[in-house]
């Protein structure tokens, strides 16, 4: 029998938004006379029950009709942190998405005409069912849930993002991976016409962007496929229309704008590992004890910062998700397999 004991760093049930409040949030927004875009207007999720503020706004509506329909039945997922979410304004303007440029505001500036509907995802490799699917067919079987996760960038800043999506494990099981499927490899769209930096002569990384997880990591309950943020569709700069979210790993593992999912026997070569394997490992688990060769990972700056306050917080092992994922690495030397 499995007995779940509360451990340090566990997500307490008190941290999770009560479902009634969650379902009423659109009514709460409406009652306050707030439309889709109301930047900077504080909306207290569950104001009536005196809970802490989660959102300041919702993302603007931008998804296809089928997605908007599904968003109407969005439910709060487990594992959400009660830490205040980074305002949408910053979540959507401070991005690393090198396909659109290396500056933090480049993705927001250069991705506005990025076409994400229609969108196809190819599922291939060591599985019984493979093929190319419309995004709607990929997402359709699953109820959308919201998960408010910490996002820790390898550059030592962090955010708290309310993602909308579904469990990666649920999707992967659907294709019945066989016993050779030891890893899952993900690929971002390669389209230099739409993603200007992919065609750059001085591109620092190889395209298409590739990421990967060990199959047990991919099947972990925290691994998430996001199709939106802040209760609505995903902004292009955040990895529309579908992206990975693995909150216990550095942000670069959470690959954006996925077009291919492949079950593989061998560990895939991932983009940052190829670019510089001494600095960026395959596992890339958040770990304050293992520094990047050129900077410390002991603490992070929680965004948004202000000019006179850098908002430093101590970095937690596995980004604070150790109780749910540490067992995946129990026999590994995390200094060597970083």
């Amino acid at each position: 029998m499995l007995i779940k004991r509360a451990q340090a760093g566990d997500i307490r049930s008190s941290e999770i938004t009560s479902e009634t409040v969650f379902h009423e949030r659109r009514q709460i927004l409406k009652a306050m006379g707030i439309g889709a875009v109301a930047l900077g207007t504080p909306v207290v999720a569950g104001a009536t029950s005196g809970e802490r503020q989660l959102y300041t706004t919702q993302a603007p509506l931008s998804g296809p009709a089928w997605l908007q329909n599904k968003l109407n039945t969005l439910t709060p997922g487990q594992y959400s942190t009660r830490e205040p979410a980074t305002p949408f304004e910053y979540v959507s303007t401070y991005n690393n998405f090198y396909e659109f440029g290396t500056g933090k505001t480049d993705p927001a500036d250069n991705s506005q005409n990025f076409v994400t509907d229609p969108w196809k995802v190819e599922v291939t490799g060591e599985a019984e069912l493979t093929g190319t699917y419309n995004l709607e067919d990929i997402v359709n079987p699953y109820a959308l849930e919201e998960r408010v996760y910490r996002l820790r960038c390898v550059e030592a800043w962090s955010m708290v993002v309310p993602w909308v999506g579904f469990s990666l494990a649920n999707l992967l099981k659907r294709f019945k991976p066989n016993s050779n499927a030891k890893y899952v490899r993900f690929e971002t769209l390669h389209d230099p016409e739409q993603m200007p930096a992919q065609g750059s002569r001085f591109a620092a990384i190889d395209y298409p962007y590739v990421e990967g997880l060990r199959i047990d990591e991919a099947m972990n309950e925290l691994a998430f496929l996001a199709v939106g943020v802040y209760g609505n569709a995903m902004p292009n700069q955040n990895g529309a229309p579908i992206r990975l979210v693995v909150p216990w790993k550095y942000g670069f593992k959470s690959i954006k704008s996925i077009v291919k999912i492949e079950f593989t026997k061998r560990r895939p070569k991932t983009t940052w590992e190829i670019s510089n394997s001494r600095e960026y490992g395959f596992y890339a688990n958040v770990n304050p004890d293992v520094d990047h060769p050129r900077w410390s990972q002991a603490r992070e700056r929680r965004l948004p910062t202000s000019i006179f306050n850098q908002n430093y917080v101590e970095t937690l092992k596995f980004n604070g998700y150790a109780p749910l994922v540490a067992h995946l690495y129990k026999d590994m030397d995390l200094r060597k397999q970083y």
Binding site: T86, Y90, Y94, T305, Q310
Partner: protein, 203 residues
């Protein structure tokens, strides 16, 4: 007039940053983004590099074009390099490090680009201090020798920019190419002069 105009132009980036901070503090448009202090530190650093490159450009331009007016603003450009580098360093210490000097040691050890940047700054100090007629008279021949330190600063700056990039080296490559050209123009200045002589003779 030419010098005054240059002076006012050189102040523009600083004024712009002050305006951005003013906007932020008075709840205007947040042009500095989610990480304003870092954006400020980076911007001031970029301007320090641009002024350094401009300073190094004066002599080759003068040699190439015979435009001797350019020489008049070299000292000013050099001092603006020092000014922007100082703001960059102070903004790092006050805003990013929050004057938490326990972490400075760790930062210097773990972030070699900070060590390199700091070294480059220290090398600029004697140059700024001797950028006056009195020092030139006092040091005589040694002045020119001392001010060759600026070539070392330029190389360190390229290393600084290369090491702080996560992966995208396009900026570092651009600076590297410019610095290389500017330094080579000095190495081959005799050839340069011969080339110009030849041109003149032909005319």
């Amino acid at each position: 007039m030419f010098k005054l105009l240059t002076f006012l132009l050189c102040l523009l980036p600083l004024e712009y940053s002050i305006y951005q901070v003013y906007q932020l503090q008075t709840d205007g448009a947040n042009v500095l983004g989610a990480d304003p202090a870092k954006a400020l530190v980076l911007l001031q650093g970029e301007w320090a590099i641009r002024f350094l490159l401009l300073t190094l450009l004066v002599t080759p331009v003068r040699r190439l074009t015979g435009w001797h007016q350019a020489q008049k603003i070299r000292r000013m450009l050099g001092l603006f390099t020092f000014a922007y580098a100082s703001i960059h360093l102070l903004a790092y210490l006050f805003l990013l490090l929050e004057l938490d000097f326990r972490n400075l040691g760790a930062d210097i050890l773990k972030r070699p680009y900070i060590t390199i940047g700091f070294t480059a700054y220290l090398l600029l100090v004697p140059l700024a201090l001797t950028s006056n007629s009195f020092a030139i008279r006092l040091l005589r021949n040694r002045w020119a020798l001392l001010h060759r330190l600026v070539y070392g600063v330029a190389i360190l700056v390229v290393v600084h920019v290369t090491w702080l990039a996560k992966s995208s080296y396009s900026e570092a490559i651009a600076y590297g190419v410019i610095v290389t050209v500017l330094l080579l123009s000095r190495v081959f200045k005799d050839k340069f002069a011969l080339f110009q002589e030849a041109l003149k003779r032909r005319v």
